[in-house]
């Protein structure tokens, strides 16, 4: 992709033409292209045209949109489903031995060991997962992008220092740091309460330790882009470094950032689930899929539903984000990814 690309003449995809992003030229070799009408298409239009032909990615996108809607409207969804809220304890829903009871009309996903409705908790668990996945990834992406831009653009000592910093951060075992913070800050928090266990701490852990992958990708791209002609042109016109970085180079990083961020989201959702599974994630009684899986483990042989439904939710969500990420990669960078055709 080149900077400042406005509308580009491409063949109507329906006619089989294909734009070569890296070469900046149009290949009209597809069937029916001869004599086909040329139409103006923005890169985003092109991206969408490619993406919508990827049915797997579209289904994944649809699932994610549905998940977001369900998470945002969780109280309404629970109400419409006619089940109790996620925090309503109901010992009468336990059997005489105190074991959870399975799926029924009243509780379509069964209940947990406190008689709470598993469906409601799965729905509210989506909020936790998306909060950590999306917000954590967004912050990590911003941090990684800024550091990567600085390192790649200024090179030299700046690059050395920032790259070594990245190496150091990469050395941290994130899970162990999370466990340590969770244990040390569990009751009254750390640093005068600045770090408290819960979603905000997990988001902070995700942001602080997962920006490194983005940084390395951005740095590599910037090292290449800063030598390109359009950057030379901008510099010769007297553009400041800030303008070059943020107006010329940054827009060219959009595609890889979207792809890698979309792949980082499921990783972060899994990290949250792992931390919650290990008991240092969200604070009870908040709902989290990982925590539900942890609670379900010792009673799996008598309450399979308690593990199945949050497990399925986690599986499908991570799968959807991963498949969408692959689809985005294909759509944004067709020469790098799988062929959609």
């Amino acid at each position: 992709m080149t900077t400042g690309a406005a509308d580009i003449l491409v063949a109507d995809p329906a006619l089989g033409g294909r734009y070569d992003w890296s070469a900046g030229g149009f290949d009209a070799g597809g069937p029916g292209s001869a004599g086909g009408a040329l139409a103006a298409r923005s890169p985003w239009r092109l991206f969408w045209l490619r993406l919508r032909r990827d049915r797997v990615a579209l289904v994944s996108l649809g699932f994610i949109v549905l998940l977001v809607v369900v998470a945002l409207a969780a109280p309404l969804v629970v109400q419409l489903a006619g089940v109790p809220g996620p925090y309503v304890q109901n010992p009468n829903a336990l059997d005489a031995f105190g074991s959870p009871t399975g799926p029924s009309l009243a509780h379509p996903f069964g209940v947990d060991q406190l008689g709470r409705d598993v469906f409601a908790r799965v729905v509210y668990g989506a909020r936790t997962s998306l909060e950590v996945g999306v917000i954590g990834t967004a912050i990590a992406t911003v941090i990684g992008t800024v550091i990567g831009l600085l390192a790649g653009f200024y090179r030299g000592l700046t690059d050395t220092l920032l790259s070594r910093l990245t190496d150091v951060v990469l050395c941290f075992p994130v899970l162990l740091v999370g466990l340590g913070l969770g244990a040390a800050c569990s009751v009254r928090g750390c640093f005068k309460g600045a770090i408290q266990p819960g979603v905000s701490t997990i988001v902070a852990i995700v942001a602080l330790f997962n920006w490194t992958y983005i940084m390395r990708i951005v740095r590599g791209q910037v090292l290449s882009l800063r030598e390109r002609e359009f950057v030379e042109a901008a510099r010769s016109l007297g553009a400041s470094n800030a303008r070059i970085v943020f107006r010329e180079i940054l827009p060219n990083l959009t595609a890889p950032l979207i792809v890698y961020a979309s792949l980082l989201i499921p990783a972060n959702i899994l990290l949250e689930a792992a931390l919650s599974f290990l008991g240092v994630g969200v604070r009870a009684p908040a709902a989290s899929w990982g925590q539900m899986l942890a609670d379900a483990t010792p009673i799996f042989n008598t309450a399979w539903w308690y593990m199945l439904f949050p497990g399925l939710a986690l599986l499908l969500t991570v799968l959807a984000f991963n498949l969408l990420g692959d689809g985005l990669q294909d759509a944004l960078n067709p020469r790098m990814g799988r062929s959609i055709e």
Partner: protein
Amino acid sequence: MQAAPSRVRFALASALLAGVLAVALAACGSSNTSSSATSSIPLKAGESPAGQQLYGKQRGGTLTVYDHEDFEHFDPGEAYDAEDYTITSATQRSLYSYLPNNASKLEPDVAAGQPAIADGGKTVAIQIKPHIYFSPPVNREVDSGDVAYAIERGANPNVANPYFESYFGDIVGADKATGGPISGIETPSRYTIVFHLTKPTAALLVGALSLPLSAPVPPEFAKPLDAHKPTTYGSEYLVATGPYMLKSDSTGKFLGIGYQPGKSATLVRNPRWNPHTDFRPAYLNQIDINIGAESTVIGQKVLQGEDIVQNDTPAQSAVKEAYEHYPQQITFTPGSGTYYASLNTAHGPFANIDLRKAVWAALDRDAIVKVRGGPLTGQPMTHFLYPTVAGYEQAGGAAGPKVDYNEHPEGDPAVAAKYMKLAGYPGGKYTGGSTLQLVGATGEPEDAMAQIVNQTLQSLGFKTHLTLVDKSVMYGKYCTVPAQAIDVCPNVGWVRDFADPQTVLYSTFYGPAIRPEGNSNWSQLNDPQINAAMEKATLVVGEPTRAEAWGKIDETLVAQAAALPEVYANAAQIEGKGIAGVNQLWNTGTWDYDFTSLK
């Protein structure tokens, strides 16, 4: 001592065994009528602990034991946990002990007979049996000096026995003891030991001589080890007087040989044990203990296995499966302690007694019974002395003291609202600004119990901050350290130390017993009237009178809403098909390896 399921207190019931069981069954029956949670299953045990056959069983063989949790101490001076007591009762012999099917009668063990109490209850003289020997490498005969040293080392900071002050603190000179000789302990002959007390509390001391601290320890072997901080006697080296010993090398070292931390422990026969001096039959040749497996997995292995038992609390699913499909392989032992939530009476909102009563009224104790496994494993708690403990009936039995906030185990919002208003919250909801700090234990069912308490508090308008940590952290770092100012510890509990009601109420609610660390008065209750009543009751002699006195104190504690009652526990234990297991009725219901045999 700290809360169950495992912290052990040796105990004794107030009444005769038949009475004790009647009390326990009455407790079950009563809760059946008052609680929907307890209405559907009658208590049924594969084998009643009271009717256990103790003698004339098959000798030999190896028992395999599965424990989810590891041990803490093997040293008889440090052990204070149900898990640890299963080892000390097999490897050590205290001056007195209980038969596993008797919750009330002290049996002379190292002692040759009943104690001679003189000087108005201020002097206790005990003869000890000859021909009791230490295991290798010591090998020599036990004498009275070994018993004296065992008790004296309890005051050694490197040993730091947790109950020395409570039960041995009245011995003359004990208040200044640091591990050396105590002037109030005399050994006038090789087989005689005499205790001189500052107060006429001989009966309490005799009861405490059933605790492992009175098990003989050879000074020539243990003194160099006790010089380490903490002592390595019991963590690396140990000698035994009981029928079994931890597998050791020729120096007495067992660490890495008979005990792999977190993995396994092996008990073998003590070659120097003299069966002619002991009432223990010791049928088994060896006990192999596996540590660390998941309780659910252990439950499956045990119920479908042969020569195998689970020693710690079985998973709820295993209890259900055993009850439904293997009824002869599960035993429930009533009177296995209490679970309750401490409310900080010294700091924060619960310094207000009406707020404490409001929370008491609101808490759904039936729900807590349910999440613990239903009525098989416990009944709603109504006061602090529990079934089988002297004073329980005097304090109201299963129904408990008759106060309105205690009448409805299922929770009573109207009564809760009444006390919220009395506390100064006319809307029935707490409107103070502070956020309550709750620290509970992870794992089931503690996690669920803590969340029920948390929801109860929230329903009354409290903002809460619930943290669930490992049980050892909950006790060690938070609930036993008053400076942490934790408002609510929802998972504490108590098991008697021996058969006296004082062992249930004194450490847990006596104001002067509050300590900066290792505190067991979790509610930090320091009520002058209750303190005075306890000081008076400590001196009361005779079981019926003591039961009356401590029962009244129990009623006062309820009137003070000193803590938030949850459950009277029935310990469940599961065994394989090939095991003739014997539970300790007098304590927490854990297996007694000295009497358990293969079929």
